[in-house]
């Protein structure tokens, strides 16, 4: 075989492998979306129906109007949004303050604090479930979105601080010192100089926290009781338990839950990797 032919063959092999990976990754997602637009006779069949032949909005409409467990899916999406936005907003403020402290100041216990952050990230949430469940009940926050907001702040904060501190550290200190010398107060320096420069990092970190909170299932399962308070993942698990064969409806609801995450994900994908592997990739 001539080198040229071999090279071409190699390229074909690589590209087919690429296509295979793409299909493996995307097909399940596609199948979820496709199922939610198929009429029932195309869903419940032992044949392969690659695309919705007579696409229908029945399932999507049904989860909105009839809903799940007596509530429209809107309410669950709204609950999820309330919890996620609440936890992210408060969490972002706390994370920014703490990240500034560790990135801008040298003080005793700084290293201990950073190691603490790493360790608490690894504690399984399932292990904290029992004590937090009792705490939430004692505070009268059981079956309330506020309880879930508080818990999610705790769950996302360590990682947010860890990720955000690299963004704060990346802002040149000289800028703040210049403002400081020009007579700006500490607060003004922070607000007018540091904050605008860290804002993109803050957005990336917040999106990450948003996704984590949006996807959170275990605490929503344990701390919510009334179906009117369910978040999306909780509602979905209820759905599959209650009407386990309504695949059209389940897939429609699942698609609706996935869309916001998908959009956010593509926005921050690059930062996500650098945040998670933090520093292990030195380039």
């Amino acid at each position: 075989m001539s080198p040229l032919a071999r090279k071409r063959l190699g390229r074909i092999a690589l590209n087919s492998a690429g296509v295979a990976v793409f299909l493996f990754a995307v097909f399940p997602v596609y199948w979820m979306v496709a199922t939610s637009f198929k009429p029932n006779d195309e869903i419940f069949t032992t044949d392969f129906v690659p695309i919705p032949l007579s696409p229908t909005l029945d399932h999507v409409e049904r989860v909105f109007t009839k809903g799940v467990a007596g509530h429209s899916i809107w309410e669950y999406l709204l609950n999820s949004a309330i919890v996620a936005i609440g936890a992210v907003t408060i969490g972002a403020v706390f994370a920014l303050l703490a990240a500034t402290a560790v990135a801008r100041f040298r003080f005793r216990f700084r290293t201990s604090f950073l190691i603490l952050l790493l360790i608490v990230q690894m504690v399984p949430a399932e292990a904290l479930l029992l004590p937090l469940f009792l705490m939430v009940r004692r505070l009268g926050l059981y079956d309330q979105l506020l309880g879930l907001i508080v818990i999610n702040i705790g769950l996302t904060l360590p990682f947010s601080v860890w990720m955000l501190r690299t963004f704060v550290a990346a802002v040149p200190k000289d800028l703040e010192e210049a403002a400081w010398i020009d007579g700006a107060s500490r607060f003004t320096t922070f607000w007018k100089v540091l904050f605008p420069l860290v804002a993109p990092g803050l957005v990336a970190t917040s999106i990450f926290a948003f996704i984590t909170t949006w996807n959170e299932f275990v605490f929503a399962l344990t701390l919510l009781n009334d179906s009117g308070n369910f978040t999306m993942p909780r509602a979905l698990s209820f759905f599959i338990g209650q009407r386990s064969t309504d695949w059209g409806g389940i897939m429609a609801a699942s698609t609706l839950m996935t869309i916001p995450v998908l959009v956010f994900f593509l926005l921050v994908q690059r930062r996500m990797v650098s945040g998670l592997v933090a520093g292990a990739v030195k380039g």
């Binding site: 492998a17 990754a25 604090f113 399932e126 479930l129 004590p131 769950l155 996704i211 990739v281």
Partner: protein, 341 residues
């Protein structure tokens, strides 16, 4: 940063870099806090949250694992105080046959899943590095989609793909020529095969689900690592006559080792405590007991009637101890590669 004159490199008396005596910003008129207190004030809200929502509960969990906490401690009318029972919960845990089956499920699942995830992720990472620009972007967007799907949805999607009656997997297995199916699986008819009834096949589906959702992260991390390796190294290796696998073993792998070690530990930690996907795939609290892992067993003891929170806490402590041991390796790796000082 102050630049040291080049001459200083030749040895002799290096002219002192002007690091220590940077000019200090002028002192401000009373602005509230003394400077040394500022970092602590900034940390305070975060520390309070971590202490109240992560550290204190951790302590409480350990405490509860030595207590009897059940219905009588929960009832709204004059609840009994939790009763100290010493190591009774632990004795019960280690004596239970559920402990060994859940531990086995947890460990075997984590090992198998981590191995597959890393293998597939690394291969895809290498592939992405070799692919042309356009193709590479398309594949990256594709695997991002798999990564982005919430765990709840992922579990439900695979449950649907593996559905006994209308699932696409059974349809695809039926497509295989009978002799091949006979040879590989000892059967040729897959119609109505229920995948989610017994522990072994539940875990098979679970492995597929988790590998599918987590290989993209490995692939993208490996790709980022590969991009940071200077291409001169590869050119030099080529000149020296090194090929394919040799180059990977001698150049790529050693340089990516820190990335790999972090990825391995992160994956082990994530896969050790898998809950959501197992819960949904196996049918919630009604799942077969043989399919429990430690997380689920703890949850079910603690919350399924009759609740035995002490026992649940003891199981959770066992899981946490295992995870903290693994975390220790991870923290050491991070401290080695990054400046936490």
């Amino acid at each position: 940063m102050a630049h040291t004159p080049t001459i200083a490199r030749g040895g002799g008396d290096p002219s002192a870099p002007a690091r220590g005596n940077r000019r200090k910003p002028p002192r401000r008129k009373a602005s509230g806090l003394p400077p040394w207190l500022i970092p602590y004030a900034l940390l305070l809200p975060g520390l309070v949250v971590i202490a109240a929502l992560l550290l204190y509960p951790l302590f409480q969990m350990v405490q509860m694992s030595f207590q009897k906490v059940g219905l009588r401690q929960f009832r709204p009318k004059n609840p009994l105080p939790a009763e100290y029972v010493g190591g009774e919960n632990y004795a019960q845990v280690f004596a239970s046959d559920l402990f060994w089956s859940s531990l086995r499920n947890t460990v075997v699942f984590a090992l198998v899943t981590v191995a597959f995830t890393l293998l597939l992720g690394t291969l895809v990472g290498l592939l992405l590095h070799k692919l042309g620009g356009k193709m590479s972007t398309v594949v990256i967007v594709g695997i991002m989609a798999a990564w982005a799907v919430p765990p709840t949805s992922a579990a439900i999607i695979w449950k649907w793909l593996f559905d006994a009656d209308a699932g696409i997997i059974n349809w695809a297995l039926n497509l295989l020529p009978d002799w091949l199916s006979q040879l590989a699986f000892g059967r040729s008819d897959w119609t109505g095969e229920p995948w989610l009834n017994d522990a072994l096949s539940i875990y098979l589906v679970l492995i597929v689900t988790v590998v599918w959702a987590s290989f993209p992260f490995i692939a993208v991390s490996v790709l980022a690592g590969l991009k940071s390796i200077p291409s001169e190294l590869y050119e030099a290796a080529k000149v020296d006559g090194s090929t394919g696998f040799g180059t990977f073993r001698k150049i790529t792998f050693p340089l990516l080792k820190p990335v790999f070690s972090v990825l391995v530990v992160l994956s082990v930690i994530w896969d050790f405590k898998v809950f959501t996907q197992l819960f949904l795939l196996a049918g919630g609290t009604n799942m077969p007991r043989e399919a429990f892992n430690l997380s689920l067993w703890s949850y079910i003891e603690a919350f399924n009637p009759p609740p035995d929170m002490g026992l649940g806490a003891a199981v959770a402590v066992v899981l946490t101890v295992i995870l903290l041991l693994i975390t220790f390796v991870y923290v050491r790796q991070i401290v080695k590669t990054e400046d936490v000082r």
